[in-house]
């Protein structure tokens, strides 16, 4: 008799008129419980697939950039390297870090966690990113002891979206090998042109800083007049200045400056 009780109870509840208070509470409870169960099961079982997708996408973007870098294929063949070395660096010291796991490294998570990021003051926050992650995953290619290529992930707040990119520097750590925009949501046909190969082709060969070490590379309106300037996109002033700010910030003291210093001294 005891086993029939829950079923009998259920039938009794169902038989109640829809407006009764017990029914209202019971229905609210049942619908919430069933919905929550349904959603949680889906979320938990699909999460690994979703994470794998995100990781695969980032890797694909990186591979695409490497495939498009002029001359990189030859450099890779010469140095007998098949892939780039991945190094996690600490931006506060400039040195490599052993404590974090490379496979699950996510720069966005690091930037969001107060324990592993630094809040930027208004003067420091040129790129509009609010917090700076204390760790970053960079890619280094060496031939023996000589640096051939360094790839740095950078990002900034664009006109209406976050702009994510990879900045590739040649061995002298001052000449740009390539700038590849991996994610952006700027105005189609205007700001979104930063993601097109035609605009990104303007970057290889540009220099970051002058002989004094002052960062001078910027995106300018009108024509670019030197190796420190890149043509902006007409009609997309805000997006262009966001890219400028991105370079200015990440090449500056709050960005990768210490890392570049350590790389030059062979400490990484």
């Amino acid at each position: 008799m005891a086993e029939l009780n829950p079923i009998k109870l259920w039938h009794r509840i169902l038989a109640l008129p829809a407006e009764s208070q017990t029914k209202t509470i019971a229905m609210a409870f049942v619908v919430s419980a069933v919905s929550a169960l349904f959603v949680s099961i889906a979320a938990v079982s699909l999460q690994p697939l979703i994470n794998a997708n995100k990781l695969a996408e980032r890797q694909a973007k990186l591979d695409e950039m490497i495939a498009n870098l002029p001359g990189l294929a030859e450099v890779l063949a010469q140095s007998n390297a098949e892939t780039l070395d991945t190094v996690i660096v600490d931006l506060t010291t400039g040195l490599a870090d052993d404590t974090l796991d490379a496979a699950s490294f996510d720069m966005a998570d690091i930037a969001a966690d107060p324990a592993t990021s630094t809040v930027l003051s208004d003067e420091q926050d040129i790129a509009g990113i609010k917090t700076r992650p204390n760790f970053a995953q960079i890619y280094v290619l060496k031939s023996g002891d000589a640096l051939e290529l360094v790839i740095l992930p950078v990002y900034a707040a664009g006109y209406q979206s976050q702009i994510n990119a990879y900045l590739a520097l040649k061995g002298d750590l001052n000449t740009v090998a390539a700038l590849v925009i991996t994610e952006q949501g700027e105005t189609p046909g205007l700001g979104a042109k930063i993601a097109e190969p035609a605009w990104q082709a303007l970057w290889p060969g540009k220099e970051i800083a002058d002989a004094d070490g002052t960062v001078r590379l910027a995106v300018v309106r009108g024509g670019a007049a030197s190796t420190f300037e890149v043509d902006g996109i007409t009609g997309a002033t805000r997006t262009s200045s966001a890219v400028s700010a991105m370079i200015g910030f990440w090449m500056g003291p709050q960005g990768y400056a210490k890392v570049l210093f350590a790389l030059r001294n062979g400490e990484v």
Binding site: A18, E19, S20, K23, T24, F38, A42, L49, E57, P188
Partner: protein
């Protein structure tokens, strides 16, 4: 009767062009046919499932919490659909982002739940959901067709009109990718439908008098 449920929402009682339901997402995702198609599929599936479930429970839903119960059911279905999209069609899910979440408050799903599923048996509700979903999809695909073809020269990503950038003759109409064009294209589409089906024309409230000679 069932066939009526299915065919009427396609043109005669189209949710977008006549009932004014489900427009928000109809405009935003039509910049390319791929996103339009994915959104249509997602919405039709959610619409059918929610109409079916709500119809099955219709006698047991208390009036006071009716709205929030319906929304809970629809929201759960939408969340699961979103997760499935992220797991199996990641590229597309990124472009649809908040609009899949907005299917929850999509007036179409809630509107049909209130207007039909609450008063009709399960089988007919599901069919009604399918019909309205297809009516919605039809409009989305037509608008998407126009906007993608004229705005990018492509359809589903395949180049149809060779653009000047890639060495062809077609200069894409950039405005088709921006918000205003969606409104205008939809307005013109409604005009075309009402010329074809004059019964949908709205009455003139202040007709002009004949000019006196």
């Amino acid at each position: 009767m069932a066939r009526r449920n299915f065919f009427t929402p396609l043109i005669d009682e189209n949710p977008v062009t006549l009932q004014i339901l489900g427009i928000c997402s109809a405009l935003a995702v039509t910049t390319s046919m791929t996103t339009a198609l994915t959104m249509s599929l997602a919405l039709t599936v959610v619409l059918m499932a929610s109409s079916g479930i709500i119809s099955a429970m219709r006698r047991h839903i208390p009036a006071q919490i009716r709205l929030i119960l319906q929304i809970t059911i629809i929201a759960s279905l939408v969340i699961v659909t979103d997760l499935i999209l992220q797991a199996f069609a990641f590229e597309i899910s990124k472009r649809l982002s908040i609009f899949v979440s907005l299917v929850v408050t999509n007036c179409l799903v809630l509107g049909r739940a209130e207007a039909f599923a609450m008063q009709n048996p399960v089988g007919r509700s599901i069919l009604d959901g399918l019909g309205n979903g297809l009516g919605y999809s039809l409009i989305l695909l037509i608008v998407g067709f126009v906007r993608e073809l004229l705005g990018l020269g492509t359809l589903f990503g395949w180049a149809i009109l060779p653009t000047v950038d890639s060495g062809g003759w077609y200069q894409p109409l950039g405005v088709m990718l921006l918000a205003p064009s969606a409104f205008v294209v939809l307005g013109l589409l409604i005009w075309a439908i009402r010329v074809w089906r004059p019964v949908q024309v709205e009455p003139d409230e202040y007709p002009l008098a004949e000019a006196r000679r």
